[in-house]
Symmetry: C2
Subunit: 658 residues, 2 copies
């Protein structure tokens, strides 16, 4: 079974993982033992002989990254963290697995424990975000030298991760960019929840990875010598490496191994006792023999000296490097943005907000070394290139623009990886409607609470001729209901700049910028205060005298302003509330919200689904928006056809104050 | 340039496509000429020599299917339809390209023209749904014989389609199922919007398709002889075939061909004139020389005899085959469902709604030959297998269950293809939270208005220990805002059966069934009327005497009923409204809605995002729901932790009536 006696120590160390995992899952009566048992040997070799980390300095910027893409195997990670000696996890945490409030959640949750490099569970996300981490490493190494950034990114992925389409997008880009320090272990156990992989797939994964420019190695995942040799070989590759590890799911559990029975259910006491006999493990649950724990703790401290040497080199790099490590923006980074706002008001700049966004990028990208942008093959439409953009290639990683290709989902996941790695603030563009393709990654960014910025242009029926497949309708509502995400829809250059300021300064949430294809007038008259920070505010009108309040966002704010002028000519006073970010408005104190919304009748206007606007206009307020999908035709005609016009707003106000 | 003079007729026929396309795009001053020009030669050979269709009988069930996966090249399809002689498209429609109300929308829209087999535009969807069409063909052929179902499915796909991850999921399953009558032409022009494909991809697509079990052929896409030979060869393959067509984007346009300049912008008059000279085309815009039009019309009528022969054979098949073609359900198909409801009430069956759903499947699948279900590797969790389920394999297509593998996105697209093909009513399961992975396909089903049923289980924090990555929060709201989609969240066996009845009878909309993991009591006391059809109704309480109305869905309806009992004990009368489908409720007449919701204070209860409930409770009503993501822990503890409890409802009612 094992290649030779040289690895007797590792065999015991692997058993420690196996029993911690099986016993914790038994105790919680919930969890996935199959993977921790199957991959314990690979993990033992990787973590005891190769991986660079420091439990005493868990946030070491140059540590190797480890992503458990098959996140259901969380007990593998928790066992490792405990055994290696991370300070924030004790045996009680292991015993508390999957209990409310425990750091040891059902799936690894970023922020719960220092050793968790990302939240995983939704399959395919881990391997794809790892591409972002490996890319971040190369970008920063080429920018600040390998003296301070020079590490591997390791992944354990299961069959599910490889079957998910996002993995194809990600490995294709990883191969293209020759991310040779990315090493993926594929837990090749031929088992999924519904049975054998071969029941639903005949794909030759080795050939597929090779088609995508990867180095591949086939090994027996329970043969320590092969594992060690494979990692050594992978580390020297000029391409990313897939190590296909032929394993037995639930290895060691005599009655259940090799079947889907041990994938997602506890082994049970009886089967675990049988495993104890089989593997010669005499300790009680949650007890690790002193010698084995010592071996693990020694493995955990292997890189202490390397850490301290790195720390010195990093300090010598000075302030910019210290800042990018801590995620701090340079001082006065937004001075140029403030200037842009002032000049936009002065010159009454009338451009599409996608263009406003590009003007912001021109203003800030030169100031912020961390920014790395990109687009999913729509750079010229999303206007994501600034005047200092330089595209990253496999020949030169020292750039600030990524050509993601037509791979929205991988873009979303890779941005998560870039952000999680640290040292980089990623933004990426696509058409707003196609953000659906990366929604699982946006959700994960929200759940992790990380700084990722989505530049989503062509944000309504204003798209025009491309028609309903390209016109977002429900998208604004569908993001506003997602927790911990900021959805901005600015109305002019000033609000766009304000949104960029907030998105960049918010380091615990991702942000969406929904931007127009079509030109919009400049509406703001002052830029002294960042009003977008309040989410919504009275843009125009007398709060006391108003007979109605029109609430609008983005391109519809100018319609509201025109309606206000028409109504004023008829002696009707209204206030226009611009609401660039509902989430920030909802977070304001009640009196402020009341002051803005007022007690006069309210009308909401947005060229999107009406759903959700009742929050501000109530059951009886009028909502001017969309009830169905869009259509193909010139944008101005569509606005008329769907009744999102100044005339409709005027009529609505008149009706509401009758 | 062209292999020899044998193809001079085809050269002219291809020119007809090129000039109709270029001139229409010039006229509308919007559109994508690059693809129609680049693929005109392939399309000419395919449509004039191979494809089986009848413009006089466009809905011929056994016609070859054609999917323009690169939907931006819509003018290729419109040109073909016009030239082949489809009755519902005239030259005026071509001239009206991309105008409001035109059948010739920016991207092909299913239902606009008889020759459009599906809506395309969002990349990767077409090739993936085509897998569903090709699978439908094999299923029906094996069920009703090749006498009546025996056709090819052809696809034109671009680089974008192949880069999207969904294509990997779909081609992997197509290869596994050996769908040998699926033939994909890859417009291999090395151009994307942002430049050369090689700037963002180094993937060897041929090798990748081979890794997925495909037959591959490499040709010059402007060489008629090679095109013809390749199609003949593909038709004989025992596997699906990729024909990689090396083409020049914008072929014929001397100044712009071969560059991204001609991808998405009109050529302009000058360049089009230069193309006229280069290709020797002397006709004015929108004029097709009589001889060439005649050749095309002859090509269009090639299969008339085959159609009539098929019609006879189909008639001989009898009523079941006629019904499945027309999408009709068998008479009394739901008698067994009605019986299930009655016995559920009698026996007070307390099961999870996912289990209720399986009981429905047991009742109906034996009655409905069209039903083909499946799951994305969660059959045992989604409970999508009925007692008569039989899994479809490459050795035996005559089944009614598809093992989709861990491929939610392809499942969504394949179900679209199964439904579009006709003869099949597809349903498919995954965890509700992972429906995000197939959201672009759900949107497309909604936009096309087709019957697809999503069985989405584990629909709230009731998921428990798997934690926030597996707990849907914003999902109900995010689907309720999507147009033309029904989102059901039933509260017991009776409502689940009612939802299944509606979903199956609604042939112009897809339906989501959001179902619990945990058991729920039986709440309905009668099943005579399908109350779910009204979307929401008073489940319990006196409409006149009520002091408050509690509105709830799914698993929270039983909490509302318990709260009602507690309140009654204190002398407070409330009504409980069960709201299994907001979309259907919103479609009821105003008086009914008022009658149900009443004028007493309203409280909404749902273990999901609060967003959107203001529609029913107004700005001031209380909403008991989620403000953030879930957590890992036992389900009952989570309900308490997040305050979704009987006590909270009772308190809320008391506060609201103060």
């Amino acid at each position: 079974m094992f290649c030779n006696s040289c690895y007797s120590k590792e065999r015991l160390m692997a058993s420690a993982i196996r029993f911690l995992s099986a016993d914790a899952i038994n105790k919680s009566n919930s969890g996935h033992p199959g993977m921790p048992l199957g991959m314990a040997d690979v993990a033992t070799i990787l973590f005891s002989k190769f991986i660079k980390l420091s439990p005493n300095n868990p946030h070491w910027f140059d540590r190797d990254r480890f992503v458990l893409s098959a996140g259901h195997g969380s007990m593998l990670l928790y066992s490792l963290m405990y055994l290696l000696g991370y300070k924030d996890i004790g045996i009680e945490d292991i015993k508390n697995f999957r209990q409310l409030g425990a750091k040891t959640a059902g799936h690894p949750e970023y922020g719960h424990l220092d050793g968790i490099d990302m939240t995983t569970g939704p399959l395919g996300q881990g391997i794809s975000s790892a591409v972002g981490m490996a890319l971040a490493e190369r970008i920063l190494a080429s920018k600040y030298s390998e003296d301070v950034c020079n590490h591997y990114t390791y992944v354990i992925a299961g069959d599910g991760c490889l079957m998910e389409g996002i993995s194809e997008e990600a490995i294709s880009l990883a191969g293209h960019l020759k991310l040779n320090k990315l090493i993926v272990f594929w837990d090749n156990n031929n088992i999924t929840i519904d049975g054998n992989v071969t029941a639903s797939s005949s794909t030759d994964q080795i050939k597929r990875f090779e088609a995508n420019g990867w180095n591949t190695i086939n090994i027996d995942g329970h043969n320590y010598r092969q594992i060690e040799k494979a990692i050594k070989k992978a580390q020297k590759s000029d391409r990313p490496t897939l190590i296909a590890c032929k394993t037995t799911i639930g290895f060691g559990a005599p009655g259940k191994c090799g079947t889907s029975k041990c994938h997602g259910s506890p082994l049970g006491i009886e089967e675990t006792e049988a495993m104890r006999k089989k593997l010669g493990w005499t300790s009680s649950p949650f007890e690790i023999p002193e010698g084995i724990l010592k071996d693990w703790r020694q493995a955990g401290s292997r890189s202490e000296d390397a850490y301290h040497a790195w720390e010195k080199r990093a300090k010598a790099k000075g302030k910019e490097f210290a800042d990018i490590i801590s995620g701090k923006l340079p001082e006065n980074w937004d001075k140029t943005l403030e200037e842009l706002k002032v000049s936009a008001i002065k010159d009454q700049i009338k451009v599409a907000t996608r263009k406003s966004s590009q003007m912001c990028l021109d203003a800030i990208v030169p100031n912020i070394p961390q920014i790395v942008g990109g687009s999913a093959d729509l750079a010229a439409s999303n206007l994501t290139l600034s005047k200092v953009s330089k595209t990253i290639t496999s020949a030169d990683y020292n750039g600030n623009n990524i050509m993601y290709g037509i791979r929205e989902h991988a873009m979303g996941a890779i941005m998560n990886g870039l952000s999680l790695h640290g040292g980089i603030i990623p933004f990426g563009g696509t058409f707003f409607v196609f953000s659906d393709y990366m929604r699982p990654s946006i959700r994960l960014a929200s759940l992790m609470g990380i700084r990722v910025i989505y530049v989503l242009t062509h944000d309504s029926i204003g798209v025009g001729e491309d028609g309903p497949t390209h016109q977002p309708i429900e998208h604004l509502a569908s993001y506003r209901c997602m927790p911990n995400l900021l959805t901005f829809r600015p109305c002019d250059v000033v609000e766009t700049a304000e949104a960029w300021q907030i998105a960049l300064e918010t380091d615990n949430k991702p942000s969406i910028l929904a931007l127009t294809r079509q030109n919009l007038p400049l509406l703001r008259t002052s830029s002294e205060e960042n009003l977008t920070l309040k989410g919504g505010y009275i843009l125009s009108g007398d709060a006391q005298k108003r007979q109605a309040t029109i609430i609008a966002t983005g391109s519809e704010v100018s319609l509201a302003m025109e309606a206000k002028a028409c109504l004023a000519a008829e002696g009707i006073e209204v206030a226009v509330v611009s609401m660039p970010c509902c989430e920030l408005f909802d977070a304001q104190p009640e009196p402020y919200r009341q002051e803005v919304l007022g007690s006069a009748p309210r009308i909401a206007v947005e060229a999107g689904a009406k759903f959700g606007w009742e929050r501000y206009v109530g059951c009886d307020g009028d909502i001017i928006g969309m009830d169905g999908f869009g259509a193909s035709g010139p944008a101005e005609e569509l606005y008329k056809y769907f009744g999102i016009t100044v005339e409709e707003i005027v009529d609505s106000v008149k009706n509401s104050i009758k």
